[in-house]
């Protein structure tokens, strides 16, 4: 029995181990899809939008009569006994329960809930876009780092060959001993670089797996992507993008909705002498919760109105600040994009020159000509550096392009419609 139990535990832990070490091959479209549905932050935001949507129903339904037994009893008591507020007072106390639609503040809360829901949808769109951007950026880095790792391995083989040549020369006295030691040090540094990259790749895989909702330990293998035709790309003009970036920005739209909702809060204060609403405005409406909306007409109403007006102005200023930030980011992105487009040809030429120089040295060695070991090492290092720089600029370009796409909701980011439609259909 004990043996059977032990065997069971062993098989269970083995199956768990095999599950956690599962390797999945993924592509970019799967990343976008999975992050949209599985990412913890996106899902939480979706649930908040769902709450905001249900808040509209709550606000609307609260215009209908409701039953609060103790309120009813105390009102009946006041009516029949003429209590402290008298019979009329008792009846008026019931208005809030029997005819809540007679309180204008409740109507304004319905309108506020509708507007704040739209603000929440924009908030969701912004968060979704940022999460997809982060996940895609990790995917690009994963590809870049994997390609760098391959590159380092290739260069190590190349350097080992040089090491062999130098070693032979040293044996026959054609080269000083110091050179082979230099190469060995370089080989060791390449080993360190490779190990560091492996750790970085593991980290990136783990983070991407987390964002895609895979269990801990899942290893992801990113499928290579088709790189753009860099030669056909031209530089961009910031002015061309400005309209679209401002027009589609969910961050700006969210503030637009809050400014719109502020008008209804002002009306709430204005008509507060007909009663205040006790309904919650939800999470996004929190910006208005600290504003003094008093129940009844008092000497403070004027000041309350001025406070609400100032709050609206604050929101407007915040909106303008966000718009300026969007412009600033856009300018930076377009500059970086243009920098990479402009530099790409330089990097490509550098790789070709470095490769040519190295091949010439090898050719000279084969023909028995004099080549100093230092010359060989320098040429190999130049080749590695130029190749690495070209690789880096190609992926950096992809990242800049994707950030631009996020900013103007283009390409994969157009799928926000699907995400929002899913939300509007009901519970996410």
């Amino acid at each position: 029995m004990k043996t059977l139990f032990l065997l069971l535990i062993l098989s269970l832990s083995l199956s768990t181990y095999s599950q956690t070490k599962e390797t999945k091959e993924i592509d970019l479209s799967q990343v976008v899809k999975k992050v949209s549905t599985e990412d913890y932050n996106v899902y939480q935001s979706a649930l908040r939008v769902y709450q905001a949507k249900e808040s509209i129903t709550v606000a609307r339904m609260n215009l209908l009569p409701k039953l609060r037994v103790w309120n009813l009893a105390s009102a009946a008591f006041a009516i029949f006994t003429g209590g402290p507020t008298g019979a009329a007072g008792g009846a008026l106390n019931l208005v809030e329960d029997i005819a809540p639609f007679l309180i204008p503040a409740n109507w304004f809360r319905v309108s506020e809930a509708q507007i704040l829901y739209k603000a929440d949808v924009e908030g969701y769109r912004a968060l979704w876009g940022n999460e997809v951007l982060t996940a895609k950026s990790i995917y690009f880095h994963l590809l870049l780092d994997s390609s760098l790792l391959e590159h380092i391995k290739k260069n190590k083989t190349e350097l080992e060959e040089i090491y062999r040549i130098v070693k032979v020369r040293e044996t026959f006295g054609g080269s000083p001993q110091k050179v082979s030691i230099d190469i060995q040090q370089r080989l060791l540094a390449l080993d360190e670089d490779a190990r560091s990259l492996e750790v970085l790749i593991n980290e990136e895989q783990s983070l991407l797996a987390f964002m895609m909702g895979h269990p801990v330990g899942t290893r992801l293998r990113a499928k290579p992507i088709e790189l753009p035709d860099y030669d056909s790309l031209s530089v961009l003009d910031y002015e061309d993008f400005e309209f679209r970036a401002i027009d589609t920005s969910p961050e700006i739209k969210q503030f637009d909705y809050l400014v719109e909702a502020a008008d209804y809060v002002r009306r709430e204060v204005k008509y507060s002498f007909l009663g205040a609403s006790s309904l919650s405005r939800g999470l996004t409406g929190g910006v208005f919760d600290s504003l003094p909306v008093q129940s009844g007409l008092g000497f403070g109403t004027g000041a309350s109105l001025r406070i609400v007006r100032a709050q609206k102005e604050i929101l407007r200023v915040q909106r303008d600040a966000v718009a300026e930030t969007v412009r600033r980011h856009l300018k930076l992105l377009v500059d970086n994009y243009n920098l990479d487009v402009g530099n790409y040809h330089n990097y490509k030429r550098r790789v070709a020159l470095a490769k040519n120089s190295l091949q010439n040295l090898y050719k000279r060695i084969r023909f028995g000509e004099e080549v100093t070991s230092l010359e060989l090492i320098e040429a190999s290092r130049n080749h590695i550096d130029a190749d690495t720089a070209l690789n880096a600029v190609m992926y950096r370009f992809l990242s800049s392009e994707d950030k631009l796409s996020r900013m103007i909701f283009h390409g994969d980011y157009e799928k926000h419609h699907e995400a929002v439609e899913r939300l509007q259909k009901g519970r996410p």
Binding site: L233, S234, L236, D237, E239, D240, F241, F243
Partner: protein, 147 residues
């Protein structure tokens, strides 16, 4: 009592002016002409982008009203019948070839830079056709300017 009647009259007048299809169609026709005037350009300033957006947004708002308010829909298609479906499309719709050119102008290095409503244009036309009165629908589907 007088005040109440005045208020009622004002409310009904404002509602009436909102629902008149003719001024709306004329305004749309003007906006369409403004967009057409921009088609010779390859890139647009902020102001020009707004002009383009205003036209497509106005068309979208018209479709929304037609879908949501049955009374307005009836009045609107009665007007369209008198005005002529083809004439309505000719004056308010952007020809398909011109819309394609606009799409091209709006695209740079693969990025779409105009308002999103530009791309929704064919869908908008489809929505108008779908809610049109049954006798008008075939004309919306076949007329050269409506397609």
């Amino acid at each position: 009592m007088k005040f109440f009647s005045l208020l009622l009259m004002l409310v009904s007048l404002s509602a009436f002016s909102q629902e008149l299809p003719e001024p709306r169609v004329n305004s749309l026709a003007e906006q369409r002409s403004s967009v057409e005037a921009l088609l010779s350009k390859r890139s647009y300033s902020l102001e020009e982008h707004r002009t383009i957006k205003d036209y497509f947004k106005e068309l979208e708002s018209l479709v929304d009203d037609l879908e949501n308010f049955s009374r307005y829909r009836r009045r609107f298609f009665r007007f369209t019948r008198d005005f002529g479906v083809e004439e309505f499309c000719r004056s308010t719709y952007l020809e398909e070839a011109l819309w394609l050119r606009l799409q091209e102008n709006c695209t740079q290095n693969g990025f779409f830079l105009c308002s999103e409503s530009v791309r929704a244009y064919p869908a908008l036309k489809g929505r108008i056709e779908a809610i049109a009165d049954t006798d008008l629908r075939p004309e919306f589907g076949t007329s050269e300017f409506c397609r």
